[in-house]
């Protein structure tokens, strides 16, 4: 789950990035309009969080351009302009959600998660596969009634696999969606995290849910 955070206030973007990462999202940052445009067109993002008052190119212009060019990622507008007209204008120009500043961090994260769910046509925040339950809202995982603790990266990987249940997920897909621009792209980092996940989810339970497709990637069992 990869997110582009477009915000020119340094402290705000830093805090939001950290909060999102702790929630298991990969976050890229952009501080100006043109930078945001370049990144949005160059990489795959599930959600773009967009401030409207930006240097060089303002947020609404960016949004209009993206929608015009057929880019379908979800956009959450985050701005200090919270009047009804501004909200309506933003949503009418193609935004999926609108959050006026100041806001509660929990609400912000909930809205981001909702947008991610919407991106995967999933209404239920709790993903269930066999006896595995993943609560994306509370960020908790249980298997056969037992709580399992996962790090954000592990959780993010499991959630990604679950959103693509029954389908093969390649390493590059994982890479694109789960790692931000600052991570080192070393070839085995995905395999390492898969091993961690298997240790926590499959080792003490049957049947194993995470399967390896040699030469292709990994997949989690569909029902």
């Amino acid at each position: 789950m990869k997110i582009l955070l477009v915000e020119d206030h340094k402290l705000l973007s830093r805090s939001l990035k950290q909060a999102l990462e702790e929630d298991g999202f990969a976050v890229d940052l952009a501080v100006s309009g043109d930078e945001a445009d370049a990144k949005a067109r160059g990489a795959v993002y599930d959600v773009i969080i967009l401030d409207l008052m930006l240097p060089k190119v303002d947020g609404l212009t960016l949004l209009k351009g993206w929608r015009k060019d057929g880019l379908t990622f979800h956009v959450l507008i985050l701005t200090a302009m919270g009047s009804l007209e501004d909200k309506v204008l933003g949503l009418n120009l193609g935004a999926d959600d609108y959050l006026p500043k100041p806001f509660e961090l929990t609400e912000f994260l909930a809205r981001v998660r909702a947008l991610v769910r919407r991106g995967h046509q999933s209404k239920d925040p709790v993903l269930r596969i066999h006896d595995l339950e993943i609560d994306t809202g509370a960020r908790s995982v249980r298997r056969a009634g037992k709580d399992i603790y996962l790090t954000p990266r592990e959780f993010s990987l499991l959630r990604f696999l679950c959103y693509h249940r029954g389908k093969v997920v390649t390493r590059s897909m994982v890479w694109e969606h789960l790692y931000d621009e600052n991570d080192d792209n070393t070839s085995n980092v995905v395999d390492v995290y898969i091993r961690y996940l298997r240790n926590k989810i499959d080792r003490n339970f049957t049947p194993p849910l995470i399967l390896t497709r040699w030469g292709e990637g990994y997949m989690i069992k569909g029902d």
Binding site: Q18, A19, L54, K56, A80, F103
Partner: protein, 601 residues
Amino acid sequence: MRSIRFSLTICFLALLAISLGGASLMAYRSASSNLEGRLSLQKELAQTTYKDRCRDEENRLDDALLFQAQTLARLVQFHFDWGKLKHIDLHTLGLLTSPSNSSAYAQAPVWALQSTRSFAFDLFRRATPAIRFDPAELLTRLDGQVAEFFQIDTAWNASYKSNSLEAMGMPINLATFAPDEVLHWEYGDLQLSESLKVRRVVLKASRFLFGPTLPAPPRNRNSGSNRMAEPPVPPRISNGADASFRPAIFIQCAYDVAKRDALFASFAQQRDEDILIFASEHKKDLEKFREMLAAINMLTFLAGGAICFWLVRIGLAPLNLLTVAVSHINEKDFNLDITEKQLPEELKPIASRLGQTLDLLKKAFAREKQATAEISHELRTPLSAMLATLDLALRKSRTAEEYRAMLVDCRESCTNMHKDVERLLTLARLDAGADPFRPESFDLYHLASDCVKMLSPLANSKGIELQFEGEANLEIHSDPGKLKEILVNLLHNAVQYNNPSGSVFLRLSSRPGSIIIEVEDNGIGIEASKKNRIFERFFRVDASRSHGDSTNCGLGLAIVKGYAELLGASLELTSELGQGSMFKIILPVPLKKEVLVATGA
């Protein structure tokens, strides 16, 4: 104030009423004077008619009197000429009975034979030398019954009086009454008694039938339709010899004036009635005219009112147009929806001025809106950042280092917010006039070097050279706090908007009566189109909110401008894009040094 339409209509109606009133008054006066003229003419006519009738009546009566007198005279003459009795009698009586008919002469003898007690016979028998008449007989015989009183006097003292005269007599001065005339008559009024006044005719005739004959009495006396206009002219005979031996007889016939007067009175009454009728007609005509005038005035007034209302409406239509256009203006739409072509000359200045004002207002509103957005953005963004950071800190337990980093971040955000709030408050105080000019004496050189020192770390961190030159010991009397704020702001901007390894100059110089402070940089410069706006609040050359590490909410230069105005200083900007900018402050203060020198000398 009342409506223009109402006032104009009232004015117009008043004008209309005045002119109508004037015209009506004139028309009424002329018409009434015409009518008065007509009335007086009618009155005059009535009076003339009355007089004519009276005169005619009097003439008729006079003629009748004369006729009777002549008849009487013939009878008297006949009385003495017996030999001609029959002829004369027949002739006379024929005349008396039917004077208008010439065949009377043939009938007369028949009358004479039938009447055994003929008047002529009687007269003949009795009146020698005295004259006797049977008054009743006389009256019946005499035509017209005009005369009631008869008196016959003769030169030989024989006389006759009708019974009606009773004791009264009608005196004639025989000696003086036409002594030379044989035949003569005169009319006159005579007061017989106190209560009786008569009109008489005195006829002097000859005693004999020969001599000057009496003129034939008017034959058509009673025919009415063909009355004689004039009494017969008495023939005048001026033969004194004849007169002496022809004894004269004087015959008087008279009637009571009261009868005539009664007739006259009836005429007068007729006249007065006529006059009354005329007067009432006059009054009616006047009334009619007045009514007509009133009706015309009323109709004209109503028509005028309606036309005026209509005209005023047409006249005010452009104003209505403007009103409608203006009424469509609201806080969302500031366009005056009207073209100048639609308006008359008088309203064009209003409309164009209104349009300009609305444009200004529109811009002001847009600025206001922008400013509100800016303020909310400036305050909300750091607030959200702090909130997010604190939420993040509280989300789970962290290491002391992490907490510390977050607290440091929050503190920095607070400091920035504090600066912004202070700037906003400074401007608010400036607007409210709550930031007074606090003058004191200080060394400007010292103050300027302090400012330079304050900004040196920032300049150093950006690799910018900060240079300062100026006269030392520049003692002035001004507000150091505000001057410092101005300098810090300008220097900060100069450092902030500079190219790496650029330079900034601060120069102080004094002139008599003023101090010139220049802050110059060779940085990015300002576009000519933005030069005028750079002192506006929240205006940023670059729309970005933060430039590098420092916040910029676009208030610094607005504060500089406000303070410069407060200090009475003029602020000039020369700038070229890519070449750098220079802000020049001309501070009109007397140099403390100069003052000291002047007092010392």
